[in-house]
Symmetry: C2
Subunit: 329 residues, 2 copies
């Protein structure tokens, strides 16, 4: 059986993760990386894989079965995914929840135009968390769903810290509040404010002679980022920063509790959780599993745009339906 | 929009659960219960719903969109589901894992014969646990999957206890071993024996004058049921039994940990868990969500047999694809 030929567009943390995830899937091969940088400046982790300028990507339409687009959601993907869906079957990890309907419509139209299939907003949230919300809410109609994130690094909040005067290095961890999670798991369906659910823990290396009290104050009162949360600011040395804060862990929880039975007095609780040593490597692993699903659904004649909610679990697995029924059901 | 007309075949704990779950789904209505007992002896929880003899079920083919078959897996379902799939679109909760391929083939052939659609082995294991195993193994190819059950009542083991001489009442809880779960969550991928993963906790009301030491010995050494496990036997009064041991809680965990990254040194952990106040009520809730999926897939022209692995999450939800993308993704 021929392998699924994967292309990667964009070679940051996520693109590197996809390169590594492809190694773990014996039915896939990486045929090339496409970049906006000068190709000779991009050093891959795998020997022998070509790097091409993204400006020439249309020349490689016949060489790529699925293109995994590894750009950012703020500005890259809203442009790139619809444009590339005209040329390739594509997958992205677009994660600006509020703009998903608009992005879906753009990609759907572009993909249909040339008979391609696209999958958007894959990863774990949106993605695995989304489908777990849908399963749980469909099964327990009378209940409440709660999503907690962390403990994990938020890139956006880390960037915000680094813009504060006097900050040399900075990183921010989003942490779920244990007492809130316990209340949710008990089935009491609590009403929880933003502050109740998560706290923000920052590690900062201050510049020499900087006013630490002022830095802490500036961070804690920053609108939209920190003012609605209980925030802790820890000052550490640069050595401590390099030793303890250079990986990108993340994770989270989707918990739904609901009531069933005569009088709806029975409590039922469904919980899905992730504990991720590396957020980009895990997201990349999700993208690769869906690349397999995409290649199969395309072979069945599907075109247009799909999300994790539209793909049956069996499509993700390298096993055949017979094997799955015998071994996993 | 017309409601999905549901029929229930078999009115034990699971059938009652389905009756109650239908009340929570505004797009469904219960049109009748079919039973092997004299219909007048079956008292439903809902007023105004007719009870029919199952021997006359073929008369109601035009009145039922989806028939939920609530029989037992040992002897009922292997006969009933193929037979009824010739007459109706059907769903069952067949849970004898080793015989699923054979049951699937029988039901698939029967359903296709008259253009019906069937879904088998729905509930939580097989069912939700199965699809979580498939998602997790597809995303993390290099890893280990562990399923733990409990704390929950095992009907088979409770029945076995009650056959022991001197036992008046008895119930058995299957409990996951905390240290084994902790080891799995750590990502160490331990090798675990049957005894390592679960323990069995029994509550027994002894007959007057019975030899309790002998009862305990008889239970703990019972082949296939208890001899491979660490088993605890607690003797209690009949009052305590009635007060504390008449509900049917259950639950469990599917945990996969895997390695990603360059050198495969990053640990990633996916965990799905259920804490169920009532096993039959929850299983019934799963069956109803899949009844919705079945009615939609049938309208799209699907026939034959499917399992939870073949159904995309969106089909389970009362929301439209647009609503799902806007609110759940």
């Amino acid at each position: 059986m021929s392998k699924i030929r994967i292309g990667i567009a964009g070679y940051g943390n996520l693109g590197k993760g996809v390169e590594l995830a492809i190694r773990q899937n014996k039915d896939m091969e990486l045929v090339g990386v496409f970049t906006r940088r000068p190709p000779e400046s991009v050093k891959l982790l795998t020997a022998g894989i070509p790097v091409y300028p993204i400006a020439e990507i249309e020349k490689y339409q016949d060489a790529v079965d699925v293109l995994i687009i590894c750009g950012g959601s703020a500005t890259d993907l809203p442009e790139q995914t619809p444009a590339l869906a005209k040329l390739f079957n594509v997958i992205d990890s677009f994660d600006t929840h509020a703009r998903i309907p608009e992005h879906f419509a753009n990609v759907d139209a572009a993909a249909k135009q040339n008979g391609h299939l696209a999958m958007i907003s894959l990863g774990w949230d949106p993605g695995l968390f989304s489908l777990n919300r849908v399963y749980a809410e469909s099964i327990l109609p009378n209940g409440g769903t709660y999503t907690f994130w962390g403990k994990g690094v938020s890139q956006g909040h880390s960037d915000a810290i680094r813009r504060v005067k006097g900050v040399k290095r900075g990183i921010q961890y989003t942490c779920p509040v244990q007492s809130a999670m316990d209340a949710v798991r008990s089935g009491s369906m609590p009403e929880l404010s933003t502050r109740d659910k998560h706290e923000r823990v920052c590690y900062v290396v201050a510049e020499e002679g900087a006013d630490k009290t002022q830095i802490e104050q500036d961070i804690k009162t920053m609108k939209n980022y920190f003012d609605e949360y209980n925030t802790t600011v820890n000052f550490i040395t640069e050595e401590e920063f390099d030793r303890d804060h250079t990986s990108l862990p993340h994770g989270g929880f989707v918990i739904r509790s609901g009531k069933t039975g005569d009088g709806e007095t029975t409590t039922q609780t469904i919980e899905y959780s992730l504990k991720l040593g590396s957020n980009p490597e895990f997201t990349a692993s999700v993208l690769c599993a869906y690349a397999r699903a995409l290649s199969r659904l395309k072979a069945e004649g599907r075109t247009g745009c799909m999300t994790a909610l539209d793909v049956a679990p069996a499509y993700l697995s390298p096993m055949s339906p017979d094997e799955l029924r015998a071994h996993c059901l």
